[in-house]
């Protein structure tokens, strides 16, 4: 098994079309991040002032929730490679819980902002903060829907040690959602 794993392949694991889709998504996020950074460069005081109003504790918990969820997706893939469908199903369920925890915490944050009358037109910082995080939020929702399909398919026994490309592809999308947040978290909440 280790010998097999050590052989390098030309293409990434899973469906290549999905990887091209992931690249397109990452490019869009890169443009958003650059737009945030360059706009901040002309409004440093405003951005620093309103960045201080954000809840970094919740952002930390959000990051941990996504990382944990990704960890369970990887564990689910390792389990399916051992033909342990039940174990893989459990790991996928836990990854969905992690994603839902992220959504709940983010909605708590949004409702707090809304109760304070903050919206896209409040100022330039909040315009970027709300649109960037909500754009990512929508990707988390799509990612959870993909995880739900993977969970159902695994329950039905559609994935085996020899045939689990769908699981690997869906997992790659979820990791993309995770790694985008790993840039978003320090960029919007911490960097001054």
């Amino acid at each position: 098994m280790y010998i097999q794993e050590s052989i390098k392949t030309k293409y990434p694991p899973g469906d290549l079309a999905l990887w091209i889709f992931i690249c397109a998504e990452l490019l869009v996020f890169a443009i958003f991040f650059a737009a945030y950074a360059f706009t901040r460069a002309s409004n440093i005081e405003l951005f620093n002032q309103y960045q201080a109003t954000l809840n970094t504790d919740l952002a930390l918990l959000n990051t941990i929730a996504l990382l944990t969820s990704s960890y369970f997706v990887v564990s689910a893939i390792i389990s399916i490679k051992e033909n342990k469908q039940k174990q893989s199903t459990r790991f996928l369920f836990l990854s969905i819980i992690g994603g839902c925890a992220f959504l709940i915490m983010k909605m708590t944050e949004y409702s707090h902002h809304m109760s304070e009358g903050i919206n896209l037109t409040t100022n330039l910082f909040y315009m970027f903060y709300l649109s960037l995080t909500f754009f990512h939020f929508m990707h988390v929702i799509l990612g959870i829907m993909i995880l739900l399909v993977l969970w159902l398919n695994t329950r039905k026994g559609l994935y085996t040690a020899d045939n689990h490309d769908g699981l690997v592809s869906g997992g790659a999308y979820w990791h993309m959602v995770d790694l985008v947040w790993l840039i978003l978290f320090p960029l919007i909440y911490i960097m001054k």
Partner: protein, 93 residues
């Protein structure tokens, strides 16, 4: 396969620790005003480097790009280096 689980656990623990470190750097009430300890540019570069390392780890180990050769092996790392460069130019220049 035990090796795979162990690697997965180590990478996860590393990612969580780096995340906690990032969060601590942003806490005024824990370490005081960071600008009194290190230069603002150094502070930014530390945060950016941690983020780049974390993204690279996700790409390599969670997305299994360490089993790929050629262009696709570096696709996530290239993305984060490109994005990081844009952010760095905007923050430092």
């Amino acid at each position: 396969m035990e090796k795979s689980y162990r690697t997965n656990n180590i990478i996860f623990a590393t990612l969580v620790l780096l995340t906690l470190f990032t969060w601590i750097l942003g806490q005024k009430d824990i370490i005081g005003d960071i600008s009194e300890i290190i230069d603002g540019k150094a502070f930014f570069l530390i945060l950016l480097s941690i983020a780049i390392i974390k993204v690279h780890l996700i790409g390599d180990f969670f997305m299994h790009l360490n089993t790929v050769s050629g262009f696709w092996r570096w696709i996530i790392t290239l993305w984060v280096m490109l994005t990081g460069s844009f952010i760095a130019i905007a923050f430092l220049l």
